[in-house]
Amino acid sequence: METFVIALTVFILATFLGFEVITKVPPLLHTPLVSGSNAISGITIVGSLICAGGGFEAVAAILSVCAVSFAMINVVGGYLVTHRMLKAFRKSRT
């Protein structure tokens, strides 16, 4: 129960922090914001790695390789595409 309360506290504080930080982002950068925050949601890679490295039986093993692949698509694709877009904005400063 104690760990749950701590986790819940972290969750609530992080949500408020998210609101504060995100409202400062101008509409100009909303697309990179969506793709960049999308890449952050790829943090589920951490869980996927723990599953894939746990030494499990066949079904779980196959599923965990899928989980790692999916999360990595999310992480690598998300950060790269965000970088591509943001670079275009920086370049456009004349």
């Binding site: 922090l17 949601s41 790695l49 746990g54 965990s64 999916f70 990595m72 690598v76 456009s92």
Partner: protein, 463 residues
């Protein structure tokens, strides 16, 4: 490696994510911010590999290589115009990964006979539900944006809302059953199956122009799914990162809804509101439409000092953003001041137009937000509306009862002359005629956007 050091690494990763998002507040710092955020992710991945729970390293490289490869190819090859689809797709993968992780955790916990807490099972059920809805919802959104199987139209059938509520209730019931009986792993996959149907059903009624809201919402869901997975494996990095993304998506969907003067509920149900009492297209357009050629528009530019482009989704469809910039360069060379007026929901995702124009090297200080440009619209000599319709429809101001009544719009009609580049007089997503097209100072340039700009460039050169 000791658990403490790994946990410190997770805190560091979370700080990187927060800093990265914070630096997204300005184009100057945003590139660095994204790199810091990515570095945080790398840190989290590397330190996870040191975790004591990881005993077998044979499978991990396979997944890492496949995922990184696909992700990199997607990111580098996607066209800027297709960015909404790309984001939908990536969201879906994140949701799927969360669903799988929760499922595997439940499978192993019951196979190994570990003591299972309620927190664990509740989080597993939440992760499965949100993750599956995210994956299938994102796929439907992707399909609609790509206009593959479903096309861009909203789908309605009788009892749709009742079905969705039933599906959601069914998910909750199965979720409770999982909590009461955690060893029955098959229940989890039943939950995932029902949630998958729910995911498909919830995006089906949403139409193309409402996609910005759905993209934001799915973004939020993928964060919340990650967050739920964080509760499953008791990991603060997942909880913090998931909460950040969750709140980000919620804020953005709220901004999008406000920009359309509609409620989130309304958008999700695909309801546009009453259309009665709206004058017919014939009554508005009859005998009042003036069509022009590229040469005539070019003469307008000769007499202009300030020109504003108002882009919409049509710009993305015809990939006209580069030629718009070429024309703008020519006008600027003649000493004309050129700006771009961008409506918050123009395009298929928030900021879609900004990204396109940035790709075409338009300086970002020339992209004006609606509230910034509207007060000065009356000093604009020529407003060129390209591929936009509902976001410049003055009925939103004048007729509070119409479908888009009260929606904030770009006041293109207040410019001295308005040129509308459009293929035909067909209505926009709202399905109502646009009195702007019939105004005395409006000229219709019937053409595909890209072709129109190529013709205009030729005409300005010749003039």
């Amino acid at each position: 490696m000791s658990l403490n050091i790994i946990n410190f690494a997770y805190i560091a990763a979370a700080i990187c994510f927060i800093l990265g998002l914070k630096m997204m507040a300005h184009p100057r710092t945003s590139v660095k911010g994204n790199i810091i955020s990515a570095a945080g992710m790398l840190l989290a991945i590397v330190f996870t590999l040191w975790d004591r729970e990881i005993v077998d390293y044979r499978l991990i490289p396979i997944g890492l290589v496949i995922g990184s490869g696909i992700g990199a190819v997607l990111a580098l090859r996607i066209k800027m115009t297709a960015m909404p689809q790309m984001v939908a797709l990536l969201n879906g993968f994140g949701g799927a990964a969360s669903t799988l992780v929760a499922g595997i955790e439940l499978m192993t916990a019951s196979a190994r006979g570990t003591v299972i807490t309620d927190q664990f099972t509740i989080a597993v059920a939440a992760s499965g539900l949100i993750g599956a809805v995210t994956f299938w919802g994102s796929y439907v959104a992707f399909d609609k944006l790509q206009e593959w199987i479903l096309g861009g139209k909203p789908y309605h059938f009788p009892g749709q809302q009742l079905l969705n509520v039933t599906l959601l209730v069914a998910c909750v019931i199965v979720g409770v059953m999982i909590v009461l009986n955690p060893s029955a792993v098959y229940l989890y996959w039943i939950l995932v199956a029902i949630a998958s149907v729910l995911g498909v059903m919830f995006v089906l009624p949403v139409g193309g122009a409402d996609m910005p809201v759905v993209i934001c919402l799915l973004n939020s869901y993928s964060g919340m799914a990650g967050c739920a997975t964080g509760f499953v494996i008791n990991n603060n990095a997942l909880i913090i990162a998931g909460a950040l993304v969750g709140s980000s998506g919620i804020i953005l969907s709220d901004i999008m809804c406000r920009a359309m003067n509609r409620s989130l509920f309304n958008v999700l149900l695909g309801v546009l509101g009453p259309t009665e009492g709206t004058p017919t297209a014939d009554a508005i357009y009859a005998g009042k439409i003036k069509s022009v050629t590229a040469e005539e528009v070019s003469m307008l530019f000769d007499a202009a000092r300030r020109v504003v482009f108002v882009p919409g989704y049509g710009l993305a469809v015809s990939q006209a953003h580069h030629v718009v910039k070429d024309l703008a360069n020519m006008l600027e060379a003649k000493g004309i001041e050129v700006d771009y007026a961008i409506h918050p929901v123009a395009g298929r995702m928030p900021g879609h137009m900004n990204v396109l124009l940035a790709e075409a090297d338009v300086p970002y200080d020339k992209m004006k937000e609606m509230d910034e440009i509207n007060p000065t619209m009356s000093q604009v000599d020529v407003a060129v509306v390209v591929g936009a319709n509902d976001v410049v429809n003055p009925m939103a101001r004048t007729d509070p009862k119409c479908v888009i009544g009260g929606m904030p719009i770009i006041d293109a009609d207040k410019a001295r002359t308005v040129v509308v580049i459009k293929r035909s007089l067909s209505p926009g997503f709202a399905g109502i005629p646009n009195p702007l097209f019939a105004m005395d100072h409006t000229l219709m340039f019937f053409s595909d956007a890209k072709k129109a700009f190529i013709d205009l460039i030729a005409a300005v050169k010749a003039g």
